[in-house]
Amino acid sequence: MSVFLQVAVIGLAKSGIIAMLAIGIVLIYRTTGVVNLAHWAMGLLGVVVYVLVSQSTPLPNALVAVVGIAAAVGAGLVSQRLVFSRLRRGDGVTMILIALGVGAFLAAVAQMLLRGQRGEILVEPTLPTGQLVLAGTVTTYAELITIAVAIGTAAVLLPWLQRSRTGRALRAVAQNREAAELAGIDATRYAELAWMIGSGLAGAALLLLIPHSAGERGGVLSVVHLVPLGSLLIPAFGAALVGGMISLNAALAGSLIFGLVQEVLILAPAPIADERDILAYVVITVLLLLRTERFFATNAELEALRA
């Protein structure tokens, strides 16, 4: 039982990181129609700023993490303003290519900032270190904090989107841009807001990831591990696809599949436990082929996304 709990906690932490990425992907897609394959790069810039600032100042790490998140927010805002806002909607292939280009650009900028630290870089721990025993299970503070932050984010963000005036305006822009503008909503500003929230979440997610990749005491982290195009973006898109890239609630459920369930399958019999990754790829392919968007949006909304 305690083994199960231990694995479950690790899986939940992973789910939390995936969920924060997936929420950003869905939010940006719904508000602006952009499938952000550069999502990881926004977060990456935040991590790099965190690394640089934490090396050069004595500020507490939690505060530096906020600076890192702010950098990710800035990267998202600038990308939207300079590039994505100039895109014609509906030209899917160009849009994705441009997202890839923005990702490549930000990754190059990140490497530029980390000059002289090729390969492996020294990272301060983002979260308090140490282990604790809960209900006979050994867990780390890092895991518990990751879970708490993810749950907290979802618990604040989702109701806010649902009920607040700003959240309603964001959804209005997503569902009918013209009607939203005619109601006096500045669609450009809300598109930027969606990019800022999404990118900030990506920054937070990657910063939470550091203790899990680099060890809880911080330590060395290879640059390659900061480029999670495949290793993190694929499950994040998988989670978003569970909700058809439309529903945030379903995306949260999806992040449980690609985090918790996948982790717990370690305890399953041999062939399943060994091929967990393959299983995840199969699930994503099936989700794609199912065209899950149909279950979460009316045709009118889907047209609005593509028009």
């Binding site: 569902q175 005619l182 909304e301």
Partner: protein, 240 residues
């Protein structure tokens, strides 16, 4: 109340409006008619500020609103009812009305009062406050779209294709509501494919063709101008 003076608009390199002028006086209904693609909707979008004007001037209640943001224009009391399905399909009726009252900002009490007043005029919507807009019938959606536009208490309402795709009975209901607002001092511009309907409620009319105003005068007079109207009938007549 509204003067549009020599307004031109271009989509990229293509000019679509050529020196369009029109005028709306307080408390009147004006019809804006024309063939498909004549630029009627473009005129409305330019007035509402969602489309930039390349030259000319738009004056509303004595104030030059050319180049103002859609939000400023909505706040000044000039509201456009979007063409086609103007609702937010994934939101409830209540949320749609709340978005309609977006310009009240943080003044939630005023927004609530305004929505309450609108619901007095649209009792059917009150019964459906928690229904998703996308699941309602076309007529009910158009009614919601109209109601939503009334929340910011417009003094001038621009209506784009009220009758599109709706049964005549439903259109008649919507027109009744519109007339009631007019008696209370709201001015209205209706853009219509349905010529008879528009000329039936409007006192004055404009007729557009290929981005230019071709006729400007009493609605009754336009009714007699077969040379102009025939092109509309030809383009909209259902094949029998």
């Amino acid at each position: 109340m509204l003067q549009v003076e020599d307004v031109s608009v271009s989509y990229g390199p293509v000019q679509v409006l050529f020196d369009v002028s029109l005028r709306v006086d307080a408390g009147e209904i004006v019809a804006l008619l024309g063939t498909n693609g004549a630029g009627k909707t473009t005129v409305l979008r330019a007035i509402s500020g969602v489309l930039p004007v390349t030259s000319g001037r738009i004056v509303f209640e004595g104030e030059d609103i050319t180049g103002r943001s859609p939000r400023d224009i909505v706040e000044s009391g000039l509201i456009q009812l979007p063409g086609g399905r103007g609702v937010f399909p994934g939101m409830t009726v209540r949320e749609n009305l709340e978005v309609g009252g977006y310009v009240y900002g943080r003044d939630a009490a005023r927004r609530r009062d305004a929505i309450e007043q609108v619901l007095e005029e649209f009792p059917i919507l009150r019964e459906r406050l928690d229904q998703q807009a996308g699941t309602m019938s076309g007529g009910q959606q158009q009614m919601l779209s109209l109601a939503k536009s009334m929340v910011p208490e417009p003094r001038l309402l621009l209506v784009d294709e009220l009758s599109l795709g709706l049964a005549p009975v439903i259109v008649e209901d919507l027109l009744d509501i519109l007339r009631r607002y007019v008696t209370r001092g709201v001015s209205v511009v209706v853009v219509e494919q349905h010529v008879d309907l528009a000329l039936g409620i409007a006192e004055r009319a404009y007729f557009m063709e290929r981005g230019q105003v071709r006729f400007d005068g009493p609605a009754e007079e336009l009714r007699g101008r077969d040379d102009l109207l025939r092109s509309v009938f030809l383009s909209t007549a259902a094949p029998v």
